[in-house]
């Protein structure tokens, strides 16, 4: 990757560097993370936004980079972190939730019917004993109005989970790597 390319924010497809020890699939800790991830998906699908807000850390970074089609030597530099589809912190996420609670958040009223299918969970230790790196694939299906064709969004999520109590985590970072360079959804009025 040339310096010019890097300075313009186009980066390799590789996941965020993971240095810690892998948490074995099926281990007690892995299952704890899996339950957290499943429960979170259910909260969003059931539109329990107050409960979802409770699992967000106050220093959360919630972002979705652009993806871009490139060719040749730079073909794997497809992640753009200069422009984002989501560029949120705790206060702006609270602002989004506040809006969803108003009488006039039309983009989600009537609400979409969504299904968050989460798979391919991989978990690692991090340098901090109370934090885990959790990567999961997400296929979001979204049905609006009478449309019989589901809107689909596929992505990988690079989450940082922070232990907040026995059997409990907070989401301290989520980076959503989408697979489309031109999104097939008319908006991201839903969380990923």
């Amino acid at each position: 990757m040339t310096t010019a390319t890097a300075s313009r924010g186009m980066e390799r497809i590789d996941p965020l560097p993971v240095t810690g020890k892998r948490i074995a699939t099926g281990s007690a800790l892995y299952n704890e993370v899996l339950e957290f991830i499943y429960d979170e998906a259910a909260l969003l699908d059931e539109q329990k936004f107050d409960a979802w807000a409770q699992i967000l850390a106050e220093d959360i970074s919630y972002t979705a980079p652009l993806r871009i089609t490139r060719q040749g030597a730079d073909r794997l530099n497809t992640i753009v972190r200069t422009t984002l589809h989501f560029d949120d912190d705790y206060s702006s996420l609270m602002g989004r939730l506040q809006r969803l609670g108003t009488k006039s958040a039309w983009a989600e009223d009537p609400p979409s019917r969504t299904r968050r299918l989460v798979t391919n969970l991989r978990v690692w230790e991090t340098a901090k004993p109370d934090e885990l790196e959790a990567h999961s694939y997400l296929l979001l299906s979204r049905s609006r109005y009478e449309q019989s064709q589901l809107q689909i969004m596929s992505c990988v999520r690079y989450d940082l989970l922070r232990r907040s109590g026995p059997g409990a985590f907070k989401l301290a970072r989520r980076e959503i790597i989408l697979d489309q360079s031109v999104l097939g959804m008319a908006n991201l009025a839903v969380f990923l």
Binding site: R8, M10, I68, Q71, Q98, T102, L183, A186, N187, A189
Partner: protein
């Protein structure tokens, strides 16, 4: 058969009758008709100037991005001399797409099919196996370059048109150029893009988005009512939003070519500024210091003074253009965008609504800052813009959920015979000592600017071919 010399559809309907200038009605059919769409590609997207990006996207020799002029895909590239070219992305050999990437840097573009190669200025280099002369003996090499559009840069924005001998960009912008200058040409370094544009598909006809971009202010009160309910806009309880009418009073401007902008004082819209009663007592000079225009800081004011007339500066102090559009498919969003923490650094965005067939539009969203802004300010402006506009923006997600319904309605046998109504005109009224030209509407924002958009659309669609 569609008779293209006279703008009449195959069922005998004349295009000009679909826009009734007596009653100011626009037939819904225009939002779904396939013949109309084909005519639009020829008469609008192959004729007018179109926004394709910003030169800061391609700073170096060989840099390119791939963009669209209607349904025609083009390569926007910079050559070794630094000039920007716009080239049809169609290989003259067999019609294959030449450039397969969306962005990159290449000293030449070689078609992957048979290997014909082209320079960043579009000129033909040759076909493989030179001794066999595989480009043939019918056309000289000079005749086999990529088809080139006419290009003009304005404030770093890249515009292009296929109308090689038509009006200049300046003529096309007409009386609105004075106002666009205040947004695009106001600092020493000019604007820069903060990254590649967001892109997403909305299942709607492009004009559902474009007619709104022609300064539809009125929809804000209802469609964007959540902005008032969350306390960002207005100074009202949820029950008296209509009485309070934030963002409605200002000066709308437009011109014959359908471009328009809404010049709105900050305190007419945003709750945070509405409560700053001292704003009203300030001179324009003082006001600039206290409340610089969106995207500008106090430190940049000397630059503004160098680039604007005193009259222009006064307008930027009192009521800067904040939203509007450029015919046919550009939305301008240069808003104060205050945040809940009481700070504001503005959000500067331009959108293009690129047609993708009669029933789809590709929403392209570029986010800008002044080059001279600090890295922190640029970071903040990116976040502001992303949170309010584009893909996940809490303002525009309501727009992109609305347009598809209009398009769907326009497909019904009865729905397509219904009309959109532009009955509420304010009429031209220029405030005393108003610095700019064009059509000026002082007061409550009404249908005037959008109606002007449709009149220009009608003019292009019915012009003698």
């Amino acid at each position: 058969m569609l008779d293209e010399s006279k703008p009449t559809l195959s069922d005998g309907t004349r295009i000009e009758d679909l826009i009734n200038t007596q009653t100011r009605e626009v037939a819904m059919r225009l939002l779904s008709d396939h013949e109309v769409y084909r005519l639009e590609m020829d008469r609008i997207f192959a004729k007018t100037w179109l926004l394709l990006g910003h030169e800061t996207e391609i700073p170096n020799s060989g840099d390119f991005v791939v963009r669209d002029m209607g349904e025609d895909q083009v390569i926007v590239s910079r050559d070794r001399k630094g000039d920007v070219h716009v080239l049809l992305n169609v290989c003259p050999h067999r019609g294959m797409r030449v450039c397969m990437a969306e962005v990159g840097n290449a000293p030449m573009h070689r078609c992957v099919y048979h290997g014909w190669a082209f320079r960043p200025d579009g000129s033909f280099i040759g076909a493989p196996i030179e001794r066999e002369q595989m480009h043939g003996d019918v056309f000289a090499k000079e005749q086999l370059g990529l088809k080139k559009a006419r290009v003009q840069l304005y404030g770093g924005l890249v515009f292009a048109t296929w109308n090689i001998d038509g009006p200049s960009l300046e003529e096309f912008l007409g009386d609105s150029k004075f106002y666009f200058d205040l947004l695009f040409c106001r600092t020493d370094g000019g604007l820069e893009v903060l990254g590649p544009p967001q892109k997403f598909i909305v299942p709607a006809n492009w004009k559902a988005a474009a007619e709104q971009s022609a300064s539809d202010g009125f929809h804000t009160l209802t469609l964007h009512r959540s902005l008032m309910e969350t306390g960002q806009y207005g100074r009202a309880t949820a029950d008296d939003i209509y009485a309070n009418a934030p963002a409605m009073y200002g000066v709308d401007i437009s011109c014959h070519q359908g471009h328009s902008l809404r010049c709105i004082p900050a305190e007419v819209t945003f709750t945070m500024f509405m409560t700053m009663d001292e704003l009203k007592k300030l001179s324009p000079e003082q006001r600039l210091e206290v409340l610089p225009p969106p995207g500008i800081t106090k430190e940049m004011l000397p630059e503004l003074k160098r680039h604007m007339s005193p009259d222009g500066l006064k307008l930027m102090a009192k009521a800067p253009p904040q939203v509007g559009g450029m015919f046919p498919n550009v939305l301008v969003l240069f808003i104060y965008a205050p945040r809940t923490d009481g700070k504001y650094s503005g959000a500067l965005a331009l959108h293009t609504y690129v047609p993708r067939g009669p029933d789809h539009v590709e929403f392209t969203n570029w986010i800008f800052a002044e080059k001279s802004a600090s890295p922190e300010m640029k970071r903040d402006m990116m976040a502001n813009a992303v949170r309010q506009a584009g893909t996940s923006g809490t303002i525009e997600q309501d727009d992109s959920d609305t347009w598809p319904h209009m398009s769907r309605n326009a497909r019904g046998a009865i729905g397509r015979t219904q009309t959109m109504k532009y009955g509420a005109l304010l009429g031209e009224k220029k405030p005393a000592d108003w610095p700019g030209g064009g059509y000026v509407y002082d007061g409550f924002t009404k249908d005037d600017t959008q109606w002007n958009w449709w009149l220009y659309y009608r003019e292009l669609m019915t012009a003698k071919a």
